[in-house]
């Protein structure tokens, strides 16, 4: 058919029937959704029945009880210490691991695959599971939390550090390689300076992430303010629980704001 006759044939059918594959895909997606909700035991009846209870809890939270504010702030400081130390340890260990995992920088494909596998394993196991593991290994308290946050940070920062280094401009690398520079010289002279903004952004995000995570880790005995929160809920001490939640909220917002400011200033 000529181009001219095509032009005069008018617009095509705008509501074409979906293909068999598209229809099957849509059907499977719907089935997955229904199956997921059926397992969640969530129902409108439960929600409606739960509203008075929720109102009751929220009502009992007000006004927040500031009687234990000193202890809560001390616990919050301990949580932040845990977050910073776990995160910094994780970032420091992420760097060499990321070099081993980065395409074009790793000394051998097997080492690269193993490093990537280790980073992926650290990332896929949730921090709460790591905390449970370290509570058993080193006992209750912040040390377990620090180790859990360290592993969680390696899983996250290791991947992003490696990607940042892989994405740097290949030109300076080639120029230094042509000079006869060593692999270490090439990494620290040509790759690291160009990847620094990404390293900073990732590190700041890791601190924010670790601060949020450190609150939850206390629920499984890994120290910090999470322990206080769990005790407050267990004792139906909801007004103290609100004080703790507000303190955590203030800390997380503060860390995020400072992180955002530093990102803007440095990058």
């Amino acid at each position: 058919m000529s181009l001219t006759s095509d032009l005069h044939a008018g617009p095509g059918d705008r509501f074409a029937r979906p293909s068999a594959a598209a229809f099957t895909g849509g059907f499977l997606a719907l089935a997955l959704l229904i199956w997921s909700f059926s397992g969640s035991e969530l129902s409108a009846e439960k929600l409606i029945r739960g509203i008075p209870a929720m109102g009751n809890i929220i009502g009992r939270m007000f006004p927040p009880d500031l009687g234990r504010l000193d202890a809560i702030l001390a616990s919050l400081a301990s949580t932040f210490q845990m977050a910073v130390s776990g995160c910094v340890l994780g970032l420091v260990l992420s760097f060499p691991l990321a070099i081993l995992a980065a395409d074009g920088l790793s000394p051998h494909p097997v080492i690269r695959a193993l490093s990537r596998g280790l980073i992926a394993f650290f990332r896929t196991v949730p921090d709460l599971i790591w905390a449970l593991f370290f509570v058993i290994a080193v006992g209750l308290g912040p040390a377990a939390g620090v180790l859990a946050l360290m592993i969680d940070t390696i899983g996250y920062a290791g991947r992003f550090f490696a990607e940042a280094m892989e994405e740097t401009d290949k030109g300076p690398r080639e120029a230094l390689s042509t000079i006869g520079a060593s692999r270490t010289g090439l990494i620290f002279s040509a790759v690291v300076p160009n990847a620094t903004p990404s390293f900073i952004a990732t590190s700041l995000f890791c601190v924010e992430k670790a601060t949020r995570a450190s609150v939850v880790l206390g629920l499984v005995g890994a120290g910090g303010i999470g322990v206080e929160l769990k005790v407050a809920f267990d004792l139906f001490d909801y007004d103290t629980a609100l004080t703790i939640i507000l303190a955590v909220f203030a800390l997380v917002v503060l860390v995020e704001q400072v992180g955002g400011y530093l990102r803007r200033r440095i990058i």
Partner: protein, 281 residues
């Protein structure tokens, strides 16, 4: 004197062997043969301009000299080293003796011009003291400053590389190459992507610096005036080999332009036209 009144090739009266010796060099990319049995000898101290249409293998040839690209066949002997037989540490030692100036300056963007020049010392020494100017020993910093001085950019030493103009960046890249203390300099279109004045200044600088030190210079350029003005010898590539080899003094721009017009690239007309014909079908 060369074409633009620049210093002539030093003649110390002693015959020197070729710095670069290529024999029977072959290179293909897929079905497309770029070089087909190329032979070339470049004596010490000579400035040689490589010209030719796009796809005739000029850049590939330069890259094969430092083994950034592997040759399929042939012998490459540079500075007395059998380049194709080198590997690991011996290849690094050889590369340290050859300075390469790329079309794209390839500077590390986020650090100072001085730190970029300090990197050139990695041809001779490794370790953290060669990674940045702030870590470098005083002697290295002073040498790097002297290299920047030589390219006329001492006042920009602490300026970040990504804040420099194209011409200034190329000057820093030349300073980095000088810091390397090379015995042979290869330059792949150092005058490309620069305005005519900056391009000419870069070529003049490169030529003067290499001539002053008695270094051999091999450069690729699409500017006929630069090929004539800054070389002793012009080699034109076409059809996988050398289609023209003349002293620069005897060349005229019009003749070189005619060479571009008349000399076909190695790939057959059928190979070149195939994608176009397919697109039209």
């Amino acid at each position: 004197m060369s074409g633009l009144g620049l210093p002539a090739l030093p003649d110390n009266g002693s015959p020197r062997g070729p710095v670069v010796s290529l024999a029977g060099l072959r290179k293909s990319f897929g079905q497309r043969r770029i070089l087909d049995g190329l032979d070339l000898a470049i004596p010490a101290g000579e400035s040689l301009a490589l010209i030719g249409a796009n796809g005739t293998g000029k850049s590939t040839l330069l890259r094969m000299i430092v083994r950034l690209t592997e040759a399929d066949e042939g012998r490459i002997e540079v500075l007395g080293e059998p380049v194709r037989q080198l590997g690991g540490a011996s290849l690094k030692r050889f590369r340290a003796r050859v300075g390469v100036v790329f079309q794209k300056h390839n500077l590390v963007a986020r650090i100072s011009a001085l730190s970029n020049v300090v990197h050139g010392v990695q041809a001779r020494r490794s370790g953290p003291r060669s990674w940045a100017q702030c870590l470098a020993p005083k002697a290295v910093r002073e040498e790097a400053m002297a290299c920047l001085e030589a390219v006329g950019l001492a006042d920009k030493a602490m300026q970040r590389a990504d804040s420099l103009s194209g011409g200034q960046s190329q000057r820093v890249a030349i300073a980095r190459m000088l810091m390397q203390r090379p015995e042979l300099v290869l330059a792949d279109e150092p005058d490309a992507s620069l305005d005519p004045r900056a391009g000419r200044e870069i070529m003049e600088l490169l030529f003067r610096l290499t001539r002053d030190k008695g270094l051999t210079l091999v450069f690729v350029s699409h500017h006929m005036a630069h090929a004539i003005g800054f070389s002793d010898r012009i080699v034109g590539l076409a059809q996988g080999g050398i289609a023209m080899d003349r002293r620069a003094l005897h060349c005229r721009e019009a003749e070189l332009a005619a060479f571009f017009e008349e000399a076909p690239v190695m790939a057959s007309a059928e190979t070149m036209a195939k994608p176009v014909l397919e697109a039209l079908a």
